[in-house]
């Protein structure tokens, strides 16, 4: 690369292109201190084989994020700003007198200002055998690639270190299919972040996930077999454990070697000594990020303080004033499916600090708030339920608007209070990764805009939920570009005016500019669903594919099957409650065999048959309907399954017949069109084998009847259902579910699951209870009548379809060649069955259009 030294412009050399290094470059760019702006020459020496990437999200590599997706550098960034980046060429020597840096390649770069951002290295305790084959650390993409490769030949893995990163690594090993051990020297897990009580709750949860935890023991030796590969570990208590792979995650140490060698001051326990401006003992040299020993005497192992240092240095060398004096060490565990968060003074070390603690070791919940003598919130630990982290952390340092007890008590225990983010002051830091305040976030109106302009939410992601709550719930509550009404308003319009056609609704109630048009992919299925839910009541056809209704349905509803990635469809017959006779099982097997379908047991206690072409669907369903099967509505926004456990009939613990109740409920609500899919489950006792509390409406048997829980959700934002009513008789249960579902259908937004709905509507659970249990709105009669209409009007869509040649006409692939099978739908063998033969286009990362709430 030519040396483009522009006369009188300084040269900045950055050593280390990690998270903080990249942030430093961006801060320079934001201030116009770039070669492109004619203000400087910038040289970056990058040791790793790739430019900066998101180390915080490193583990998401195992969840399918590619190294490219983890990149932090926007395409063309270096070119645009004229920055010289030398990838794979680390700095080896600094000559402070001559102000040059020599890279491994031999290249020598003169500097006016040198910035060290060399990060840390994982500390590996000096135990015998630590270098055996099969020993790894967890820091870079290369580390993960190596672990992934090695794990293919391994069955057991052990992580040395039960801190935040160790648990993250352990989660990853488990995800790779290894039996996983965690060895922690301290008496509890995450000793830095959580206290004893939190550690105990965490332990239970982690063990419950199938990991084996050894606390209070050190690793004495890693043993290897004759082939040099790890085969076990000897522990300090004299025991040993067999393992094929070891990951050391016993803390990190600042990479200060270069600085030491050139005589810069370093701390006793490592770290390049810097002042508030992040300047080292040589004024021409700065150090930022994890390699720096900040002026408050700490080395920060988190990215947010590093970012602040990067901003500080950019400001200072641009001639401005800034300082870094210390930062918050709040953290939240991102992985493993365990909620753990700690913030502020989590250990209550301040004088006069008092703890408010709630612990339920049965459910693995532990919450502690540390309150100062004057009532301010100083910090806290949340284990098992960290939902409030997003609002509590920014409140640190202020007096809580409600009593702290109310915040730690669980839902259902005398009305807990959740603090809305609206209670926060403007200067509360909402995103601690990027140090963004509530005030800064509230200057924007959409999440993408917030992410782009402030970066909030683009780090660990733990603040995104709160950001969403802070943003204006868009002024225009209209459903889409075609309707200014929300889904629930449209529901009322259709219901009261008895409208049965989409075009009539669009032309009479659409936005002016949309009238006479086609509608769009958002409002068509929504209105289709509203008309279908109300069909018996408003007098529309109950068959979702009649007349105009057909053109409103998403392709899944249109073909009464689920579209797969290669254009084929899946077929899911209803198996109420998951109970099925051997005869019916045989029919499913025969149909699958005869049509060459791939079969899989679903997560909903039934069987999915994949790989059907459009033209095969009616033939397949003719066989299934003959055998007594009905549509399972896996394609519709409607009732999916009511799962059951085996219950009282067989199980030694069961107290009610959960299978019968599940079947009854599934048959009652089958085919019911709703704003989003509906799921349910019935468990025969409190052991909850049917996972009812993860469902939209879940039922758990008691000695006295049934407990009804509502608003549960699995999926991306899991939520445990809340108890709506207790000890109900069969009839009371059904009546309450009728009302609950109809009230939800009437008032929810498009694609709003009951969980989100329950959290959104004014008054939440209490309000819903008032309406459906105490009939506070006087609506219950009508809700029950609507449900009765549905139940009486139900007909099986597939039976109706195959019995009608007109309706069958749509099941051809080509309008001009009805008998021709689709040549683009092809399969290849896999594990004794088939899978789609796809062009390699479809990698793990297809661009899904992220229209808010796009139907799936």
């Amino acid at each position: 690369m030519p040396e483009t030294t522009i006369p009188n412009t300084p040269t900045f050399v950055l050593v280390g292109h990690g998270m903080v290094g990249q942030r430093f470059l961006e801060s320079l760019a934001a201030r116009g201190l770039t070669p492109a702006a004619g203000r400087a020459r910038i040289v970056v020496l990058c040791e790793e084989p790739r430019p900066a990437y998101d180390r915080v999200q490193l583990t998401s590599y195992f969840a399918g994020r590619s190294p490219e997706e983890l990149s932090l550098v926007e395409p063309e960034f270096m070119e645009k700003h004229g920055i010289e980046l030398y990838v794979g060429d680390p700095a080896e020597h600094i000559d402070r007198a001559g102000r040059t840096v020599t890279a491994r390649s031999g290249a020598v770069f003169p500097y006016d200002t040198l910035v060290l951002a060399t990060g840390s290295y994982p500390f590996v305790p000096p135990v015998a055998g630590k270098d055996a084959r099969g020993c790894f650390v967890y820091r870079t993409i290369e580390d993960l690639l190596a672990i992934e490769e090695y794990a293919k030949g391994a069955r057991t893995g052990a992580v040395v270190g039960g801190g935040l990163l160790g648990l993250e690594a352990a989660g990853a090993l488990k995800g790779l299919g290894l039996r996983t051990h965690v060895v922690e020297f301290a008496p509890r897990l995450m000793p830095v972040q959580v206290d004893e009580g939190g550690g105990a709750a965490l332990l239970r949860t982690i063990e419950g996930m199938g990991l084996t935890v050894h606390t209070g023991v050190g690793t004495q030796e890693v043993t290897a077999g004759a082939d040099g590969a790890v085969n076990g570990m000897a522990l300090s208590d004299g025991s040993s454990l067999a393992t094929d792979l070891v990951v050391f995650s016993a803390g990190v140490r600042p990479r200060d070697q270069l600085a030491r060698e050139c005589g810069l001051a370093v701390g006793e326990r490592g770290g390049i000594v810097v002042d508030e401006e992040c300047r080292t003992s040589d004024p021409a040299v700065f150090a930022i990020g994890e390699c720096a020993l900040a002026s408050d005497g700490r080395v920060y192992g988190l990215v947010a303080p590093g970012y602040e240092m990067a901003e500080t240095v950019a400001e200072v060398i641009g001639g401005g004033r800034a300082g870094f004096t210390g930062a918050d060490m709040s953290t939240k565990l991102k992985l493993l499916g365990v909620d753990v968060a700690s913030f502020g003074d989590a250990h209550g070390s301040a004088e006069g600090a008092l703890d408010v603690v709630y612990a339920d070791s049965r459910s693995g919940v532990y919450k502690k708030l540390v309150i100062g003598a004057d009532g301010t919130l100083l910090g806290g630990v949340l284990v098992g339920d960290a939902d409030d982290y997003g609002t509590l952390r920014p409140m640190t340092g202020s007096v809580l608007p409600v009593s702290p007890e109310q915040l730690v008590l669980p839902a259902g225990a005398g009305g807990p209070v959740t603090l809305g983010p609206s209670a926060l002051p403007d200067d509360a830091v909402i995103c601690s990764c990027h140090n963004v305040t509530k005030g800064a976030i509230c200057e924007h109106t959409t999440l993408p805009e917030v992410k782009k302009c402030t970066r909030a939410g683009t780090g660990c992601g733990s603040c995104v939920k709160v950001i969403g709550q802070l943003l204006p719930q868009s002024q225009d509550t209209g459903l889409c570009g075609c309707f200014a009404y929300s889904r629930s308003e449209l529901y009322e319009i259709v219901r009261t005016l008895g409208i049965t056609s989409f075009t009539a609704l669009l032309d009479s109630h659409g936005r002016e500019e949309a009238r006479g048009g086609e509608g769009c992919e958002v409002c068509k299925p929504t209105v289709g669903s509203v008309i279908a839910s109300l069909a018996p009541t408003v007098g529309a056809s109950g068959y979702v594919l009649d007349g105009e209704q057909a053109s409103l349905q998403d392709t899944n509803d249109h073909f009464l099957a689920n579209l797969q990635r290669n254009g084929s469809y899946s077929v899911v017959p209803r198996i109420p409650g998951g109970e099925i006779t051997p005869e019916k099982l045989i029919v499913i097997g025969e149909v699958a065999r005869d049509f060459g379908l791939y079969t899989k047991i679903t997560g909903g206690q039934r069987i999915d048959l994949f790989g059907a072409r459009v033209d095969q669907l009616p033939l397949i369903w003719t066989r299934l309907v003959d055998a007594g099967f009905e549509s399972g509505h896996a394609y519709g926004k409607s009732l999916r399954t009511v799962k059951s456990c085996v219950g009282q009939t067989w199980c030694r613990y069961g107290v009610q017949d959960s299978v019968r109740m599940a079947i009854d409920l599934e048959l009652r609500y089958r085919g019911l069109r709703s704003p989003h899919k509906l799921k349910s489950a019935v468990s025969g006792c409190a052991r909850e084998c049917a996972e009812a509390r993860g469902k939209d409406f879940g039922i758990i048997a008691t000695a006295g009847g049934w407990n009804l829980y509502v608003g549960g959700n699995g999926g991306a934002t899991p939520r445990h259902a809340d108890l709506l009513a207790q000890d109900l008789s069969d009839a009371e249960l059904v009546r309450l579910v009728d009302r609950f579902l109809m009230f939800y259908i009437r008032t929810a937004d498009r694609l709003e699951r009951t969980s989100a709905w329950l959290e959104r509507i004014d008054g939440g659970l209490e309000h819903v209870r008032d309406v459906v249990v105490h009939d506070s709105l006087g609506l219950c009669d009508e809700l029950e009548r609507l449900m009765a209409d549905h139940v009486n009007g139900y007909r099986d869509e597939w039976a109706e379809t195959i019995g009608d040649p007109e309706r069958l006409r749509r099941f051809v692939t080509f309008v001009n060649a009805p008998d021709a099978p689709d040549p683009s739908v092809k399969f290849v063998p896999e594990r004794d069955q088939i899978k789609p033969d796809l062009e390699l286009l479809a990698g793990p990362v297809l661009a899904v259009r992220t229209l808010e709430g796009t139907p799936s």
Binding site: E521, S551, A820, T854
Partner: protein, 117 residues
Amino acid sequence: MTTTTPSTTATVVRVAHDGGWLTVCDLELLSPGRGAAVLLPDGGQAALFMDRSGVVRAIGNRDPFTGAYVLSRGLLGSAGGRPFVASPLLKQRFDLATGACLDDDEVSVPVYAVRVE
């Protein structure tokens, strides 16, 4: 492969293909607001759509984002007076008049001229 022979009296839909007009089907086989796939003689596929006013348009049936031949099964809509189809797989929208993808400037699908006569 059997081909439906459009009747001589009814209105038929033709699609420009290979320098000529390929007769595809009777107009009455199309339903407003919905698409239908057409198998072209060269093995390619087109997607035909009729809007509520009876205008028929055709674009390629292959969804460039997934490689699956499914655009004919997407939902028809209009925005600012322009008709589009939203792919049933990952929901990207394609302008029916120009073939341009409305969600990604760099992607488009072919457009076929259509005659209804």
